[in-house]
Symmetry: C2
Subunit: 132 residues, 2 copies
DNA sequence: TTATAAATGTTATATTATTACATAACGTTA
DNA sequence: TAACGTTATGTAATAATATAACATTTATAA
């Protein structure tokens, strides 16, 4: 199970916003949306985002510079992430596939590197966009 | 085999620089390094980078906002990329492991998405950094 | 050779993220 | 509860990354 973290005021405001949005959000869009709640500066947003990423409540979609709420309530949080991204509508979802995560978590090659973390992003067209 | 592309002047200058560096380079560091060759503006760099990415001569390391020369002369170029990144020394190398690439290229789940591309980044400590 | 696409040059600006510094709140434990 | 260390906050400035818009030139190929 996931460790409980007591989110601070800003962390909670920002997590709730991202979570409710249901998709990825960009930092400055978050900033815009929380200004009415007193969060005025980019750094306040980035600090909360950093912490939320660290504790696994959100993930960063690297190819999009965006942040999405973790949809994976258990296991290997933020050490092993996989996403599917529609290149047409930009819909993003977190893939939770135990075979895939096992395969990647156990992956090793002859480089001598010890892998402790990975991030995988799949791209393609989602169901809706395919049929257009 | 990789399709031959005749690089333009700027593309060639920038590709050669990245290739010779042997590692990932950031756009503005590239810009700094090619100013003596007459490339003066960020956009000139980004345009060449975009093209080089498109034809598979370089890849973008998304988590680092950096660009590295392709070390994989054949196969599935820029549709199927995997990297190992040392979180201590920031050394990056391209993983070419046919099992891994087959596994991921054939991956599908029940989302109904057709995946045409992926990017995987592994993080950890390289041999040298581990032993420090 | 002419039309079309690709690449270049230039300026300005948008977007994403961090540095630096000051203060406040929280949690522990003596 | 006082003192301490840690975490979070507030604010201003700025750094780093990336794109828009427009004019012109070069390469390609019909």
């Amino acid at each position: 199970m996931q460790k409980e973290h007591n989110l601070s005021k800003n962390q909670k405001i920002i997590f709730d916003l991202i979570d409710k949005s249901g998709g990825p959000m960009k930092a400055y869009s978050i900033l815009f949306n929380v200004q009415k709640k007193g969060i005025k500066a980019p750094l306040q947003v980035y600090r909360a985002l950093d912490k939320l990423v660290e504790i696994g409540k959100i993930h960063k979609i690297e190819s999009r510079n965006a942040f999405i709420a973790c949809q994976n309530s258990s296991c290997q949080i933020s050490k092993a992430t996989a996403f599917s991204i529609c290149e047409s509508c930009e819909n993003v979802s977190e893939i939770s596939n135990s075979k895939l995560s096992k395969y990647l978590s156990n992956f090793s090659d002859d480089s001598g590197m010890k892998y402790s973390k990975y991030n995988l992003e799949f791209f393609g067209l989602c169901k809706k966009c395919k049929s257009k």
